[in-house]
């Protein structure tokens, strides 16, 4: 799965990311599901609380982690495809 630079991504409705002090980790709460996201997912989902273009997401991560955008894009693409398939993230194909 690949994303166009202007694809707008956002956390799907009904999905909530929070810290759980009992388990001492982040948890992802969705309809009938509880997931324990990896640190990279947490970083991405935190940035997708509001709709954001794929390009913007990648650039933000590249700046934060001081890595080349192409490398970041490759890394997050698979993760995003997985989050999309699980309806944790949704994509708005047309730019607003």
């Amino acid at each position: 799965m690949s994303f166009a630079p202007e694809d707008r991504l956002v956390v799907a409705r009904g999905v909530r990311l929070r810290f759980d002090p009992v388990r001492n980790c982040n948890v992802l709460l969705a309809p009938e599901r509880v997931l324990f996201p990896c640190p990279t997912s947490v970083e991405i989902l935190g940035r997708l609380a509001e709709p954001r273009a794929f390009r913007e997401l990648v650039e933000g991560l590249a700046a934060e982690f001081d890595a080349p955008s192409e490398e970041i894009a490759r890394d997050v693409e698979d993760l995003l495809a997985d989050l999309l398939a699980q309806r944790i993230v949704r994509v708005e194909r047309r730019p607003l």
Binding site: G14, L29, P31, E32, V34, A85, R87
Partner: protein, 371 residues
């Protein structure tokens, strides 16, 4: 039964199923409530539910399933939802959607409700009325679903399927798409309580089951991430039993309308267990130490073939309530498992019932109908 003293259970529960009331406008013959229903006078008051939610959050519960009966019949549902939100619990309303106004739904959304699960008994108006025992139910449900979407709440359509509606499974998928649902739950009836009493009236044939598997597979391939479809097979026809409630006392706490706490909503069928009440004991003690919750944890209670089975940590011997109901022994291997010596007999029973003409429904009512 002399169970040795055990260490308290340290793993936290994930979900709390709050059966707020047994009252319900519908009378579905597969209702998961016990045959002996709790009356309104014995329901927990608001303050007790609020305290239960606090104790649950402290214990590590993450999701709250507001169920019944029909939970919207509780006039304090908004207060309960608001309390859940304040405690950061994810709240899921499980409703029949027949008597809920848009204004009420709006109030629940404002209180912080996270998700709505709406039951649809059939896609055909006549079938929907006949199964739910409520006239004009489908139109009300569709209006309710539209209101859910107008308010921007995520929606799951819950389709309990059986011999009377399985042939319209494709239409359930279409309906979920038309309504803009995020999820469709296709759940074959699980035969406990009322459903067990109605088993012969509900059990599908093997070919109906096989067809439903194919329909779900095709819909998943066609729709991809447009619609999540969860599928629960009827375990009489399964190869392995389901890890009921993800294992006894491992993931879920059920609080009944009168405050009794159970590891599973059917657990009352197992004799000899005393279910503590939230009005008398802390939820933490009930979860970690009460004999009822400790009873089928671990593997020491198991018989063969479960005890030495490689799958014992996957399905935990299957469902204790089913072993009790079908074999009279809550420690036996769930006969849904092909490794159970009783499996063939139970499956033959189901196949014979499915092949015979369906008897009339015994509807779920608060007043038991004399046999």
């Amino acid at each position: 039964m002399s169970a040795p003293a055990r260490e308290p259970w340290r793993e936290p529960p994930i979900g709390l199923l709050a059966e707020l009331t047994h009252r319900c406008p519908l009378a579905c013959p597969y209702c998961s409530n016990p045959l002996e229903l709790t009356r309104r006078e014995r329901e927990l008051p608001t303050a007790s539910w609020e305290r239960v939610l606090e104790e649950a959050a402290e214990l590590g519960v993450l999701q709250l399933h507001l169920s019944g009966g029909e939970p919207t019949l509780r006039s304090d549902l908004e207060a309960i939802v608001a309390r859940a939100r304040a405690l950061e619990l994810y709240s899921n309303l499980i409703t029949a959607g027949v008597g809920v106004s848009e204004r009420r739904l709006e109030a629940l959304a404002e209180a912080g409700l996270d998700h709505v699960q709406l039951s649809v008994q059939d896609v055909d108006a006549e079938g929907c009325d006949r199964i739910g025992g409520f006239e004009g139910s489908l139109a009300r449900k569709l209006a309710f679903a539209k209101a859910v979407r107008r308010l921007g709440l995520p929606l799951t359509l819950n389709a309990v399927v059986h011999r009377h509606n399985l042939d319209r499974l494709e239409r359930f998928v279409e309906l979920a798409l038309e309504l803009g649902a995020d999820r469709l739950e296709v759940a074959h009836v699980q035969y406990y309580g009322w459903a067990l009493a109605n088993r012969a009236a509900l059990m599908p044939t093997r070919s109906q089951l096989d067809r439903s598997v194919a329909v779900v597979k095709a819909a998943r391939e066609r729709l991809g991430d447009r619609l999540l479809i969860d599928f629960v097979v009827p375990d009489y026809y399964a190869t392995h039993p389901k890890p009921c409630a993800s294992g006894w006392g491992r993931a879920v706490i059920v609080v009944a309308p009168d405050g009794r706490v159970l590891p599973c909503h059917a657990a009352h069928v197992i004799p000899g267990l005393v279910f503590p009440n939230v009005e008398e004991k802390p939820l933490r003690w009930i979860w970690q130490e009460s004999p009822a919750f400790q009873r089928f944890r671990g593997f020491d209670w198991m018989q063969e073939p479960c005890r030495s089975c490689a799958r014992r940590e996957i399905d935990f011997g299957g469902c204790r309530c089913q072993a009790m109901q079908l074999l009279g022994d809550p420690e036996a291997t769930d006969p849904a498992c092909t490794l159970s010596p009783e499996h063939a007999r139970i499956m033959a029973l189901a196949e014979a019932e499915a092949a015979a003409p369906p008897p009339a429904f015994r509807y779920r009512r608060l007043e038991p109908v004399p046999a």
